[in-house]
Amino acid sequence: MLALRSRTVMPSLGRIFESRLLYLTMFIGVIITIFSIKSPYFIVPANFLYMFKYTGIIGILGLGETLIILAGGGGIDLSVGSMLSLSGVLLYFLSTMVNVWLAVVLTVPLGLFLGAINGVLCTFVGIPPFLATLATMFAYSGISLGITRGVALSGFPKQFGVLGEGLIFGVPVQFLVLLFVFIPAGIMLRLTSFGKHIIAVGNSEHTALLVGISPKRVRFVLYVISGGLAALGGILMDSWLLTARPDAGLGYELRAIAVAILGGTHIHGGSGTLTGTLLATIAITMIQMGLQLVNVNAVWQLGIIGLLLVFVAVLNQVIGGGGLRKLIIRWG
């Protein structure tokens, strides 16, 4: 087996993915070990499961971000945090008019619509995604601040809190919602032709065009999906806080990008896995929660996650340049 592998000049893309997932799993193992030793509260089942509540919103946004980045062409969605805030605020206004659960159902198409605006700007109008979504990031956040006059709106019925706060057999509903969107998305990416189109477009726009795939159409759909996911994030956030805050999604766009990159999605698209994003979300959440449990200052928590991202970026560079190739072959 070993002899066979050392003959491989380049590890297949699949091999890099798998090694990435292996690293992430081991990394989570290391995190769990360190924090269990350091804090007696980390591995307590009730706490440990409770922690997964904090994966929900970041993971859902990270999923949309991963898909957009995967499809290449400089794809990125900086507006996910603002879309989250705006959908959350719209949900509040809807809930004052109709039953809250109906309002929840109506919020998702609103999110899809916000995403569609991004999609049109980035694909059919042709503004670079970084600029287009930067613009909508300010626009959406401005609208939510404007229509609320900057005030947090509360008054959701208490039973609405079940999505954000609820537990089923000790497992947070937020995490179940996360799995509920990740599993179909994973199947879509791996098994459907649309999933293959995403990867194809991300790898080479030109080739995709030649075989009759429209990169614009694929990317447009992904921006729409990202808007819908952001709305789902907004619903969870409202349910969790029982308050619609016009600034609820502030900073979430960067966290969403961070989990996508940490999960091994290549920033120029074409390679990456949803499992990677999911594991990265869990890893980052555990680190933050663990650092919180040992009372590390929030500034340092961010610093440590920043360092981690630098490390991953360097790792990506090294893998891309082939520096670690031999190691991967030997270890794999």
Partner: protein
């Protein structure tokens, strides 16, 4: 595979070495500020630390790096998981923190509020209050009146204008309403002529103040309501050549007000002592955690807090109707004492 295993072992050892081995059991009191890294909450932290040292408390100070209710919740949840004895929080958002407070109470922890309250949350045991809004409003108006009419302040005559922050800030609006009520009730010669809103920027406060000076050339006093308005209005007073001719006051921290108080542009400032507030918060948490049911005392009483005797303007009281531990009357900051504080 061996190397991977070794690197895991190494990582674990390094992690252990960095954080050291954990603690023995003492009473722990946590305080979650609205955000960390600003002088105001730094002062509260310093006060809390001093109390922790004096009473042998393990004091945990953890807060978000920007004003974020979800982050406060995350920190609150982590503190519940750690099983600290008492958690004090400067509430950002009452509805979102209330269920967490209930969880804390159910887990046998003592949740209470400090600096900013959640009055409608039944799980909150009490509120450590810096100063009553009524007292804060009176301090400004009394200070203006006595300077306008030193003999009999109630005969003071003059126009007063406010430069507030955001029009939606509840605390600022409350203060302005209370000041206006107090003026209308007690000072027939005083008149509130304008309420301007500067948002959060000094530049806008400057513009609004200049505008007021033009609109009301005979303005007797101008009030910079939030700390964010203080530098802008102060600069405007200086630039308009009104230093010493107009009474300029507001709720400005000594650090923001210092330059203008020294130059004479600002007459006096009203706030409270966050160091003492932080100290009081930890003391209250320490008492509650030992089972002293401070919140069950049915009558209003004075509380003697060891270590706060020498702080000016501190007169701690328990007010049962509102379930408040009150720090004392507002702190009046003038040229004489402005350099004593660093918040």
């Amino acid at each position: 595979m061996k190397r991977v295993l070794w690197s895991i072992v190494l990582a674990v050892l390094v992690g252990w070495a960095i954080w050291g081995v954990a603690a023995e059991r003492t009473i722990s009191v946590a305080f979650i500020p609205q955000l960390i890294g600003i002088p105001y909450f730094n002062a509260m932290e310093a006060g809390g630390k001093a109390a922790a040292e004096r009473f042998g408390v393990n004091f945990i100070y953890q807060g978000p790096i920007d004003v974020s209710a979800p982050e406060q919740l995350r920190i609150f949840d982590a503190l519940i998981a750690q099983g600290v004895d008492a958690i004090a929080i400067a509430v950002l958002d009452e509805t979102s923190i209330c269920p967490a407070m209930e969880r804390a109470a159910a887990a046998g922890l003592i949740p209470f509020t400090s600096d900013s309250d959640a009055p409608n949350c039944p799980a909150r045991r009490l509120f450590v209050c810096q100063a009553l809004n009524e007292d804060l409003a009176r301090a400004i108006i009394d200070g203006i009146a006595i300077r306008l009419s030193p003999g009999d302040p109630y005969k003071a005559v003059g126009k007063i204008a406010f430069v507030s922050g955001y029009p939606t800030a509840v605390n600022l609006n409350t203060w302005m309403d209370l000041m206006e009520e107090y003026v209308n009730a007690k000072f027939p010669g005083l008149k509130i002529v304008a309420r301007r809103y500067a948002g959060g920027t000094a530049a806008e406060a400057y513009r609004q103040a200049m505008d007021l000076f033009t609109a009301y050339p005979d303005l007797a006093a101008i009030v910079g309501v939030p700390s964010t308005s203080i530098p802008g209005v102060g600069q405007a007073v200086e630039d308009a050549g009104l230093t010493g001719k107009i009474i300029y006051t507001g709720y400005g921290s000594p650090l923001t007000a210092r330059d203008y108080i020294h130059s004479g542009a600002m007459t006096f400032s009203v706030l409270w002592d966050p160091w003492a507030l932080g100290y009081l918060t930890v003391w209250v948490g320490w008492l509650l955690a030992q089972g002293v049911a401070l919140d069950q005392i049915p009558v209003e009483i004075e509380l003697r807090v060891p270590g706060l005797e020498d702080r000016p303007e501190v007169a701690v009281r328990w007010i049962p109707e509102k379930k408040i531990v009150l720090l004392g009357p507002p702190l009046i900051i003038t040229k004489e004492n402005v350099d004593k504080y660093d918040f």
